[in-house]
């Protein structure tokens, strides 16, 4: 069969009535899970997975994939409206998205993330359709040393997020790195910083820290402001949709974010988080008014949201062509494939063409469905902001707590979340940025492990770290990112110094 026949066949599977219905159901449930604070795609899919047992495999996978990108769509909503990302890849969206909401542009932030999502989602499915297999081959070039280089690059990007005070930003980042060392150390098998506590052996999950540092801290601060009478009802200014000016500023970040997201997504390991950080730091570094980032810049929402959703399609490449999950969510999706007796991998395209092409076909439709579904919802979601604060705050807290509890059914996780909430409150009061802590926590563990994996492979010879062009490229970019601003500042100072005596 020619490729075009496969694609057409896939569409005919995807357009079957029951498949359309379950794709829609998946999208709706995914959106629901995504917009509930404290529930991200991974937690949501783990919850919903048992619902699909007993369905026909293709239908079940179409529904699960619908949930996956539905939750990715919805995940930005809580970041923007109540500053509570449901998963690591929405952390970057929260930074400027929440500020946009505070400036009265919640509608525009939600709209631009929906537009970015549909463009990025559709592009990545097209790329997946055309180049899945060769791209998967390329992904194999990334071993531990290459992963380490990318992660060093990401940490360099994190350290540029420090805000006003460099020292406080670094403080946040190092604490995040420290939190990532809690648990069983993969390479030596030894428990670290667990104090003999069994539940800590698996480390601290992202949601526990994110709900604590973002949701609970936000609620505590808002309770104060509310009681003091500084009502924080975020009035919507201007129209719900994007202004022409906002659209003009958004489309290039969306295009760049889409490309970054897809190509990072193709590389096994790391997840979508890195791509959102890369997109954000790229937008920031090429923007004329860098210092305005963090105060509600639409570029800081458009780029990461595109990257985030393009990564979904990117993740499908190693998942389908190699059977390799790129992150927690795709790991659950892989589990679902296996439960249905389908082994993703090199033979999937020849052995179960109906399933793969049906799934890919459904992704085109699902993306459009979500877009159409989400547009009217924007008006509904911004209504959330009109809920009286005294009612809204307790509800946010309860829903986020359910999310935390349902990760591991653990009461201890709730107490940890509380501790992080208190710490997050202190961070806010002391003006310490929270994003570096959360991102360092998510990426730090992988950075250490890939470094040590490389060292084991090379027998302790550090040359392995720069033994391939990919690794060299990312290490060089990291150096540029850290040293670039310093060098620029030095040059500028010298120029000023040279200019002064002449005057």
């Amino acid at each position: 069969m020619l490729p075009i026949d496969h694609i057409l066949n896939g569409f005919s599977v995807a357009f079957q009535f029951h498949n359309l219905g379950f794709a829609l159901l998946g999208c709706v449930l995914g959106t629901l899970v995504g917009v509930l604070p404290g529930l991200g795609p991974a937690a949501g899919m783990a919850l919903l997975l048992p619902l699909t047992f007993g369905m026909e495999p293709t239908t079940a996978l179409i529904m699960l994939a619908g949930m996956y990108y539905g939750a990715m769509y919805g995940g930005s909503t809580t970041s923007i409206l109540i500053n509570t990302p449901g998963e690591a890849s929405s952390v970057m969206t929260a930074i400027d998205g929440y500020q946009m909401a505070r400036n009265g542009r919640a509608g525009a932030a939600l709209a631009v993330s929906a537009i970015a999502s549909v463009i990025a989602g559709t592009f990545s499915v097209i790329a997946l359709t055309l180049m899945a297999v060769p791209l998967a081959r390329f992904g194999l070039k990334f071993g531990p040393a290459e992963h380490f280089a990318i992660l060093i690059f990401s940490m360099a990007a994190v350290s540029s997020l420090t805000g006003k005070s460099v020292a406080r930003g670094l403080f946040s980042m190092v604490i995040g790195l420290m939190i990532s060392t809690i648990g069983i150390d993969l390479q030596s098998g030894m428990p670290r910083f667990t104090g003999g506590n069994l539940e800590l052996q698996d480390g601290i999950s992202f949601l526990v820290a994110a709900v604590g540092f973002f949701a609970i801290a936000e609620v505590l601060v808002n309770v104060e402001e509310h009681l003091r009478g500084n009502s924080t009802v975020l009035a919507i200014k201007g129209r719900l949709w994007l202004t022409a000016e906002e659209w003009r500023r958004s489309y290039m970040p969306i295009i760049r974010g889409t490309l970054i997201g897809f190509f990072k997504g193709v590389i096994p390991g790391g997840g979508a988080t890195i791509s959102t950080m890369l997109s954000y730091s790229l937008e920031r570094s090429i923007h004329k008014e860098k210092e305005k980032f963090g105060t509600g810049m639409i570029e800081g929402v458009a780029g990461p949201e595109a990257a985030n959703n393009a990564a979904v399609g990117g993740h499908m490449v190693p998942l389908l062509a190699l059977g390799i999950p790129t992150g927690t969510t795709t790991a659950i999706l892989l589990g679902a494939f296996i439960i249905f007796g389908i082994q993703p991998g090199p033979l999937l395209f020849t052995r179960n063409p109906d399933v793969v092409w049906g799934l890919i076909g459904s992704m085109y439709i699902g993306n459009l469905m979500l877009f159409v579904l989400n547009l009217p919802l924007i008006a509904l979601f911004v209504r959330v902001l009109h809920t009286p604060t005294g009612i809204l705050l307790p509800l946010i807290l309860v829903i986020a707590s359910i999310g935390v509890y349902s990760i591991d059914n653990s009461a201890q996780d709730l107490l940890l979340t509380w501790c992080f909430g208190i710490a997050g409150y202190a961070f806010k009061k002391c003006d310490i940025p929270i994003a570096p802590l959360i991102l360092a926590m998510v990426l730090g563990g992988k950075m250490e492990q890939s470094f040590r994996q490389s060292m084991t492979i090379s027998g302790g010879d550090p040359a392995i770290l720069w033994s391939s062009w990919i690794a060299v490229l990312f290490l060089a970019l990291a150096a540029l990112m850290v040293l670039g601003p310093l060098v620029l500042r030095l040059l500028r100072r010298r120029r000023v110094a040279q200019a002064t005596p002449a005057q």
Partner: protein
């Protein structure tokens, strides 16, 4: 002032972390670097950050505004914070023993009645509606294993 206090906090955390490093069991297993090399590096980094914070703290011209902020916080917000944080803690501690439905009912009712300054029936209605709906959605639609606690369902 904040920076100096943060520097002290950072040093405190670094010390605690150091104690944690000493408690990591060492075996001949595993890789060349072993489980403690990276944590040691992080500890040194944090001490370095404490130094940076001190430097930034010393550069501040006057501590007066920070002190005024602290005083304002103690006067206006400290009690609210303690009560709100205490309420959340109580909710979390009772989550298992009382069960999801009872603890949530209690927490929502109390906190909304305190925070919401409108007609009293609204918090009551929202609480009852939310508890019922969320229980149905999470337990029956999503199959979440929420604690039952004292109730039989």
């Amino acid at each position: 002032m904040v920076n100096v206090i943060l520097a002290l906090v950072a040093l405190g955390i670094a010390a605690l972390y150091g104690l944690g490093i000493a408690a990591i069991p060492q075996m001949m297993f595993g890789d060349v670097l072993g489980p403690t090399a990276y944590p040691r590096l992080l500890m040194i980094l944090l001490i370095g950050v404490a130094g940076l914070l001190l430097v930034e703290g010393m550069r501040e011209k006057s501590w007066a505004p920070a002190r005024a902020n602290l005083r304002a916080f103690l006067r206006e917000d400290a009690l609210t914070f303690v009560l709100a944080a205490g309420a959340v803690l109580a909710f979390f501690l009772l989550f298992r023993p009382l069960g999801y439905l009872l603890s949530t009912l209690l927490f929502l009712l109390v906190s909304m009645l305190v925070l919401y300054r409108g007609p009293r029936w609204i918090p009551v209605a929202v609480t009852l509606g939310f508890c019922g709906a969320s229980y149905l959605i999470f337990v029956h639609a999503f199959g979440t294993q929420l604690p039952r606690g004292l109730l039989p369902f």
